[in-house]
Each structure stands twice: as structure tokens, then as C-alpha cells.
Symmetry: C3
Subunit: 336 residues, 3 copies
């Protein structure tokens, strides 16, 4: 058993790999970051009376991390937290939208494990394009189980949005300064589907512990998307719950602080990405309304692919551009 959990890095432990898995949702190979993220999830889940979301996150990252060991995958990936980041999101999403029944938890275990080989499958197809599948394994696997749940008696989908044709929108929203700060912080918290401004602060701290640029870009991403959504007159409910923020936050960290070295060129490029992501978010929301599915992090994946696939180079980044893996890019200031 001890051999089973042996990692390629003598400092890496199973719990460490799980925590780094949580951190990798925002591209941080850092266990402390993961711990701050888990605290944020726990607080948000407790505060809104949906503590199952926190348990879901723990089960999700546990199952997907152990699946990596069971399948005998590359240990370097596991030690970098790349087995668990899809699983933790599966846990948050399934417990946000589904009732907590025994069958739901069985489905959650299956779906978390599934993301591990869907990730391998997608990365194998995308490798020749020099990009990575990001959180798309989470998106596709969760979409499958959420869609199915609507017709499954045993795992009721009471909190999923109702299927409807895009039509009526309510544009009223308070723009008081303090409210704006809340929306901005909720935009960061929604990366893990948490609707709490305190969680947003915990996430920012978690990012700063690992990489100050990641924290800065997360803050910029949520702010720019918020301003854009208000300027173009997006629906009020989406703005106030931070639902424009989360994909833009991930896009901002990816383009601004992960795949390119900080430079004026890459900064402008990342800002463009965040603005485009605001439109992609709304388009994905509306595209999925007739089947009542949430967009999850699909807008982030789509936007970041659009901005990485041209294989542009910025600043000092003169060598051959290959975005197919990111643990070589990830800056780590501390290590769990």
C-alpha cells in the first residue's frame, strides 16, 4: 500500500496531491492554495446551507486522485495535482444541482473517476494542436450526468434550471458601490460554483500565496467582465450572482499569468480574452437554455483555446510555443 501511494517526488503525499488538485483548478501547483480554496468552498457551502457541496468537493477530489493511482498514470501529473482538479469541480457541481441521495453520490463517484480518463482522451486529441483540455473533462462529464439526471427518478435534479426557450430577461440590478464589490468577489467564488463574497476573498488569498500575478489577474478578470456586462446591459441576476466572473477569472489567469510571461503584449491579449469571454459566457448560457443545463466552465475553455490556438508569442517568449501542458508553466512560490 505504501508503494501504491509512492510519488515521483519524495516530498509529495497523497493528501498533498489532493490539495494541489484543488489548487490546479486555477492553475496553481500549490497545496496551500488548495487548502485556502477548500476553506472558501466550506464557508460558502455552510453559509448557504448546502454543506453537501463541500462534501462533494472532498469526495470528488479524493475519487479522481485515487483513480489516477488505480489506472497507473504518470506520477508526475499526479504529484502536480493534475488528476484531481476536474474531480473537485464535479463534486461542487453535482451537489449544487442535484438532491443528495445515495444514487446521486454513486453517480458523483463515477463521474469524478470518469474525468480522469476523459482528460487523457481529450489531451491525446489536442496534443497535436499544442493545447490542453483544461477543465473541459469536468464540463463534458458533468453535462452527461446532469442531463441524464433530469429523467432519472433516483437522482432528482430539483435545482437544475428549467428547460425553456430564450426569451424574457430581467435587466434590473443595483449598482451601489458596495454591491459592485460583492458581485466582483462572487465572480471569483463562482469558479467553484460558490455564491459568497467571503469565499472570493479566500480564493484571492489562496492565489496570492502561490503566485501574486495569478491573484492580480483573477481580480482583473472578474472586474473587467463585470464592467463589460453592466456596460452592454446584461441580465441583472447573472451580474449580481457573479455568473459573468468565473470563466473570465480563469481566462485571465490562463492568458495573463500562466501560458505567457507577463508583458505588455500578453496583458493586452489577456484583457481581450476576458472581454470576449463575457460574450462567450452569455452565448453558452442561452445555447443551453432549451435543455436546462448550466454553462459550467465551458466559456473559459472555449475562449482560452481561441486565444492560445493561434500560437502567438509575446515578450521574451521566443521559443517554440506549446501549450499542451501547464505544470511546466506554473510558477510555484511555496510547495505543500
Amino acid at each position: 500500500m505504501s508503494n501504491f501511494f509512492k510519488t515521483s517526488d519524495s516530498n509529495a503525499t497523497f493528501v498533498g496531491n489532493m490539495l494541489r488538485g484543488v489548487g490546479q483548478v486555477m492553475f496553481q501547483k500549490n497545496g496551500w492554495t488548495g487548502l485556502f480554496f477548500l476553506c472558501g468552498i466550506a464557508w460558502g457551502a455552510y453559509d448557504s446551507g448546502t454543506i453537501d457541496v463541500a462534501w462533494g468537493a472532498l469526495v470528488g477530489v479524493f475519487v479522481s486522485t485515487i483513480t489516477g493511482y488505480l489506472l497507473g498514470l504518470d506520477r508526475e501529473d499526479g504529484d502536480s495535482g493534475l488528476w484531481g482538479f476536474n474531480g473537485v469541480l464535479v463534486g461542487c457541481a453535482m451537489m449544487t444541482f442535484l438532491d443528495s441521495t445515495l444514487l446521486t453520490w454513486i453517480a458523483l463517484v463515477l463521474c469524478s473517476a470518469l474525468t480522469v480518463w476523459v482528460r487523457l482522451a481529450l489531451n491525446n486529441t489536442m496534443k497535436s494542436w499544442k493545447v490542453n483540455s483544461f477543465t473541459f473533462p469536468f464540463v463534458t462529464s458533468t453535462w452527461i450526468f446532469l442531463l441524464a439526471s433530469r429523467a432519472l427518478h433516483g437522482m432528482p435534479a430539483d435545482s437544475l434550471p428549467s428547460p425553456h426557450l430564450p426569451g424574457y430577461f430581467d435587466w434590473t440590478v443595483s449598482l451601489a458601490p458596495l454591491d459592485l464589490v460583492v458581485y466582483w468577489l462572487k465572480g471569483i467564488a463562482q469558479v467553484f460554483l460558490i455564491d459568497s463574497w467571503e469565499t472570493g476573498i479566500l480564493f484571492l488569498i489562496g492565489l496570492a500565496v502561490s503566485n501574486i500575478w495569478a491573484a492580480v489577474w483573477a481580480a482583473i478578470g472578474s472586474a473587467v467582465a463585470l464592467v463589460g456586462a453592466i456596460l452592454f446591459g446584461a441580465p441583472g441576476e447573472l451580474i449580481s450572482e457573479g455568473l459573468f466572473g468565473f470563466s473570465s477569472v480563469l481566462t485571465a489567469i490562463a492568458l495573463g499569468a500562466t501560458f505567457y510571461r507577463p508583458s505588455w503584449g500578453s496583458a493586452i491579449w489577456a484583457l481581450l480574452g476576458v472581454i470576449v469571454c463575457m460574450f462567450v459566457q452569455l452565448a453558452t448560457d442561452l445555447w443551453l437554455e432549451p435543455i436546462g443545463l448550466p454553462a459550467l466552465t465551458a466559456p473559459f475553455c472555449l475562449t482560452t483555446w481561441i486565444f492560445l490556438l493561434p500560437l502567438f508569442k509575446f515578450g521574451e517568449h521566443k521559443h517554440q510555443v506549446d501549450h499542451s501542458d501547464w505544470h511546466k508553466h506554473t510558477a510555484t512560490t511555496k510547495k505543500e
Copy 2:
């Protein structure tokens, strides 16, 4: 003309290539298998009063096989039945969902022929990922013609499901032992869109004639999906008509008896695939409800890709894994 129909294998004839085409729907390069399948289709079509489905199957496999000759494609593929398996499914599907008018038959001929080069197109794109397009050429081509038919006066789509938003589900279903056997056998028959338990028996015999493992895995696939659907509380009508079985049957044959040699590892992998396929089936059904399209074999293709693309190796299968073609994998105990 004799030269035109000359095959690369001196034993292969045009009729043999058609029959092997029918057999290849379930991965069997065996004319006797194809003959049993055709008998099963004919019986099911006759029994339900929709004999046009059997004629559609014959026309579909004939047109697609002859298209392979006309386009001058690789004869080894043709002799293995790889030109016809999409066409026979087109024939079954179009005659199941559309009224039998002259224009419908013209569309059926066009659609059957189309699958032959759509297969080449998809295989060319998928080759670098080391997987095959399976029956996806049938799925995409038939989706195009079924969708269009709804707006075409000349080929009425009276038997297509009505477009509707996913909503009301009826979960009542009889679980009497004899009924369960019927659902299980219908699950196998539905591979060719046939709603008849007798056809399921004929299909099992056809598989056993070529490869006993294929028959065993088909039986397992339909049974496991049936149990899973009942356990999770799927809609009764889908269960009783065998609509959870057909994609799981194909997934089971692909993963359990075609692309991996039988071993404990590959058996567990195939079982996992069958279970995941049950959710993918339901998700695809609901995703297509707003446009009123049937899922066809898309859930099988998606699930099998997810389980092959990671390029895992099982048992003795130590050499380089390439799943892009299957006639090298196909076990043949008899040859037509």
C-alpha cells in the same frame, strides 16, 4: 463488369461483401452473421407491420457497397464489409421514421451513399488519434436527412418524435421476470432499430456464429444497461422498448471483444464503459428532444471513443495501441 466487382480476396463476392457489411454493424467480418442479422430485421419488420424497414436495410447496404466500388476505394475494406455497415443502418432508420414515398427512397439512396465518403472523411480526421469513426457516419448523415425531412413536404416525417422541451417523464414499468427478458432481448434488437425480442435472439445467434465472445458481451451489455436503468429509475418506456440496450451492446462488443483481448482488466473496463454508456444514452436523448431527433448510435460512438482514446493497454496487449481500424482486430471463426 466482372472486373468491376473483382475483390482483393478471390473468395469474396459482391453479395458476400454486402452480408459482411451487415455483420460489421456489430464488428463481425462474417457473412453468416450478416445473414442472421438480415433475418432478424426481416422478422421484426414483418411482425410490426413495417416491412419497408427490411427493404430499406437491403437497399441501404446495396447502395453503400456499390458506392465503394464506384469511388474506387480500397478493396480490402470492401471485402471486409466496411463499406456497407453504415448504409444498412441508414435504411433501417429512415424507413422507421419517415413515410415511404418516392422522394424518401431517393433520399435514402443518397444518404446511404453519403455515409461511404463521410466515413472516409471522419476516418481521415481521426486517424491521428488512433480511433475509428464507427457508426458515426450513419449517425451524422441520418441526422441531416431526418432533420431536413421535418420541413420537407415530399418526405413526411410522421414517425419522428415531436420536438419538445425535456419535462414530463413516466417512470412506470413492469418488472415481471418474463418482461425483463423481453426488454433485455429488445435491447439487442434495437441495434438495428427493431422492437422485437425474437430478433434479439436471432442477433445473438448471428454473433455466436462468428465470435462467441461477441455474443457473450452483447448479452452482458444489454443486461447491465437494463439493470442500471432500472436501478437509477429511468423512464419506463425507454426501458421496456430496449432503448437503453443498443448502444451498450455495441460498446460492450467493442471494448469487451474487439479492441482488447479478453482479460480481467479489459472486462472491468468494458463493464465501466457499459455503465457510462447508460448515462450517455439518456443525456443524448434529452439533448435532442428540442429538435425531435433520435439518438441513433451516437451514445455508443461517444462512449467507446472516451474509453479508447486514453490508449490504455490490457492483458497481453503490450504492443503499440492503434484502434483506427478494426478488421485486423476482428476474430472470424467462419468465413462466408
Copy 3:
């Protein structure tokens, strides 16, 4: 600044690159063709009282062409007009479906620029399959902004089709000979979303100026799709507004006069493509009805990929087939 606009070809100017960009919508590297196309757009926009469509076209091609310079892309592409052809279509489409507000124009600028790197992104992924992204960057970028606009207060989508489930169709249509000629010409004009038969004539002249075969195939494409749609009983409104023509026109020019040398084999292949495109057009229309999006040129892209991806060779075309770029294929009889 003069250096900034320096082109690889001493005869190429910025205005010339814009005009060739307009011409490349129908695969013509010819500024005179682009000029005729712009006149056709201007006439159609003026005639229907929607002059903003013409301004949109100009802004779109200007912004996307200048984006190519700003990103420092390959000048040979720019001189061939390959930066601007998606942008000019974005301008036409956004001004056809959206109200003309300041925010709509800002979105139009952003979307036109976006197509330039979406084109690079898609071409990078498709290069290994030896095909090109055609106008799909226009399609995806415009879909994103049109979908989003429905929920955006600041850019009202009053002229977008209402989301609805596919259901009622009106098959009445006048088949008087003169009406048929009007439908046929409108089918050509609709390539730029223009509903005017005079524009169809201007487009045919523009094509003939560059390549007589392109004009012939455009005429054939619109005519065959028209006959097919009438024969199979398509909805009257789609027929009379030329909405079956535009994708078939582009497919006909691509297959008949661009990627294969004229021969009997390629002529039959192109005709098959045009007929299949008629069904793909209708299927795409119905698929998008629940979210109220227009098909744009997606049916052309899908059909042409299906017919190019098998990598068949026709006539003298004996060398290695690579369809990933077309300015080597484009016949130019005159040069701007």
C-alpha cells in the same frame, strides 16, 4: 506608417487588400470582384432601406484587414485578401440582425477583429486534415455575438428569428417562371445576406471578371439547390428569399472551380455536393430554431469539408492533395 502597410507584393495596397478580402468570400483573389460585390451589397442595402448593412460590410472588412497588420501576420495572406473575408460577412450579418446602436458597432468591431485569430486557430487545428476553415470563423464568431445580443439590453436583437420549436411550415410558393429567376438570383445575393435579385446579377459579373468557371458554378449551384428544394417540397419562404442558394453557391464554387481542376469527375462531385448541401442547409436551420439563430454559411462549410476530407483526386489532379490553403488554387485572370 508606410512601412506598416508595406505588402509583400509591391503592387498590393491596403485598399486592394480590403477589396480582395471581399472577393475571397467567393474564393476570388481579385479586387475588381470585391468592388462588384461591394456595389451589390450597397445596392441591396439601399434598396431594402437597411443601408447600415453596407456600412457594416465596410467597417468589418476594414477592421479585420487592419487586425492582420496589427498582429503581424503573414503578409502573403493579407495581400491575397485572406484577412478580410470573414470580417466583411460579420459586418453584413450583425447589421442585418441587430439594431444599430453604439454598442452594436463596438461589438461589430470586436467580432470582426476576432475572426482574424479564430481563423488562425481553426486553420492550425485543421491543417493536419488538409482542409481550411473557410468562412467558419465568421460563423462561430457571429453566432457568439448574436446569441449574446438576445440577452444584452445595449444591443437589441430585434431582427433575429424568435426561438421556437420546429413545427409549423408554410409550403405555399409561387412557381411562375419570372419568380423562379428572382429566387435563383437572390440565392446568389444571399451569400452576403442580401435579399435582392439585382445584387445577384452584380455578384455574377464580379465572379466572371475574375474566373468564368466560378460564375458558371455559382449559377449552377443556386439553380440546382432551387430545383431540389422545390422538388422535395421545402418551405416556400425559404425558397423565395433565396435561402437555399447561398451555401450551395459557395459549395459549388469551392468544389467545381477552386479545389479541383474542371473535369467530368469533379463536375459530378460538385453537383453531388450542391444537392447534399440543400439538405444540410435545412437541417442546420431546424437545429438552430430553438435558440433562434440563423445558419449563416455553416452548411457550406460542413458540406465542403465532407466532400474534401476524403482527399479524392480528379482529372489531372494527380499530385498529393492538400486543401488547407486556397490562394494557390485560386485562378486570377485579372489583378487589382
